[in-house]
Symmetry: C2
Subunit: 318 residues, 2 copies
């Protein structure tokens, strides 16, 4: 079913059919109705790839994340997909397996096929990103880069309010179970957490951003003489809680634990995790929005502390 079939069947030129779909006001109402009827009848749909060839707009967006199966990303992907679809865009999704080389390759591979790419927490160097920015518009999520549209989530503020929450409960010595060595996010967290007055911060790490790492970190936490912990993310926090339980220290009775991200497993965990909720869905929506409108803006989304069951006043104060 091509545009020519429809043209033939409705007795008009292909250009008229084309305009019926892409510039309806340029064609007589009567003709338009007839063409639409015939198109419907034949089950015709414009071929978007062909259209892209002349218009230069594919109506596709590429979304690149480190790991689709990491519970942090699906809400972002879902939101991005949904707002893309609302505006008649389709979404390519790809997974880099945490490999910067794959990341670069993906952007390049997508470049001709999309109107823009959303890169989440890219591992690429600034220079590499600048290079890529010449080839395809993109927006960065969780990474700041001069001259490129960015959507940030304010982890720093989140980390600060997490530690403040612990301080308010009466904790005076708090551990930070930090993230991977090179991580920008981990740096932000550390800096913000250290700023909170009235609490002494013990940094434990670096650690991999996994449950296993959390379990392993439990030993160090138990020996650090702290009553509260801020973990790099929820996965680590959950692992930590498990590791602590194995050593007979219970949360939140003996130690309070705060995570970051607010992923689903944390909400289902027992005790339910107190955590810093990241507005991932908003970030996904916004990234799509920025891309489609092609505005180069740097946005920071607020994070929010969600107090659940893994934090309580320290023992002495109960």
């Amino acid at each position: 079913m091509t545009i020519r079939d429809v043209a033939r069947a409705s007795g008009v030129h292909v250009s008229t059919v084309s305009r019926t779909f892409s510039a309806p006001h340029l064609v007589n109402a009567e003709t338009r109705a007839r063409v639409l009827a015939v198109a419907e009848e034949l089950g015709y749909r414009p071929n978007r790839a062909a259209r892209a060839l002349t218009t230069g707009r594919t109506h596709n967006i590429g979304l690149i994340v480190a790991d689709i199966a990491n519970p942090f990303f699906p809400p972002l992907i879902k939101a991005a997909q949904s707002s893309a679809r609302e505006r008649d865009y389709h979404l390519f999704v790809a997974d880099t397996d945490e490999d910067p080389a794959v990341e670069e390759e993906l952007v390049l591979a997508f470049s001709k096929q999309v109107d823009g790419v959303i890169l989440c927490s890219p591992r690429l160097s600034n220079k590499a990103l600048d290079k890529l920015a010449e080839r395809v518009p993109f927006v960065l999520v969780n990474r700041r880069l001069r001259g490129v549209a960015t959507v940030l989530m304010d982890v720093a503020q989140g980390a600060r309010s997490a530690v403040e929450h612990l301080a308010a409960l009466g904790h005076r010595r708090v551990a930070l179970v930090s993230g991977p060595a090179g991580s920008w996010t981990s740096g932000e967290i550390k800096q913000a957490a250290a700023e909170v007055p009235g609490v002494e911060l013990v940094v434990i790490g670096p650690n991999a951003p996994t449950e296993q790492a959390g379990i392993r970190a439990a030993a160090a936490v138990a020996e650090a003489g702290v009553t509260g912990v801020l973990a790099y993310n929820d996965l680590v926090a959950i692992g930590l809680i498990e590791g602590l339980a194995e050593r007979g220290v219970s949360v939140p009775e003996d130690v309070s634990v705060v995570g970051i991200d607010d992923i689903v497993p944390g909400r289902l965990n027992r005790p339910k995790l107190t955590t810093v909720a990241m507005p991932t869905a908003d970030a996904g929506r916004l990234a799509v929005e920025l891309l489609i409108q092609s505005v180069t803006a740097s946005t920071t989304l607020e994070t929010k502390l969600v107090v659940r069951e893994s934090t309580a006043p320290p023992k002495g104060l109960t």
Copy 2:
């Protein structure tokens, strides 16, 4: 950067450049090397959309799931993406929000832009699916349909071994917290669970496939006089465990609980959930494979019981 730029810069005709990329054996090694060098230099990459126009192969695949954020799907999406990429395919991902109309619209919207569509647990009627099958090749996951490639996961067998596991532990009266009313899967589970000799099955439901539904079902389970439970899925199982805890009945001491799916939150839950692992990653990989090879086959993947901490012998037998 188009093929003509490369042709000009390397002093050959566009067709030679084209062949350099899509049929290298047809061009002299020396010429090929020169063209490749120039292409590299210019950063040229063939435009896949343009290529698709003549070849009819887009090298794109559409993946449609009910809910991207449902922990069941991400591993499938990830695996599909990864095997697609291995074969130089790109993956569109879309979310139907559980709406059959959206599902149909998506397939249609994708049809011209992909070589095939993977439909996971479609809600569409057989007739509607048959209709769609005329327009675009697809493979169904978790749904059987004559004449269409399908990838099934053997829930029936899984449910059976779950109940057998409970029976082997000594449970004689087991509740099935069933799924939504119309669900094919729920029917399969019920039938298979009922077949296991030596255990009396109490069906509780229908229920929504959510944690909340599990919490609500706890009352009925507590009153059913059972020592073991098979839940429609892990989410329900987790909710159930929480609901039971609220009533003072603990898992697995008082009641054993088995879930289905093996999603991440279940693995992190405490107690760690005994569950029927669905080979979602395999399903994703296989679906891509079938699509690319365009083989119309019906495959059934085995499920596997994973015994963790939420099951134990009933109280009297300990």
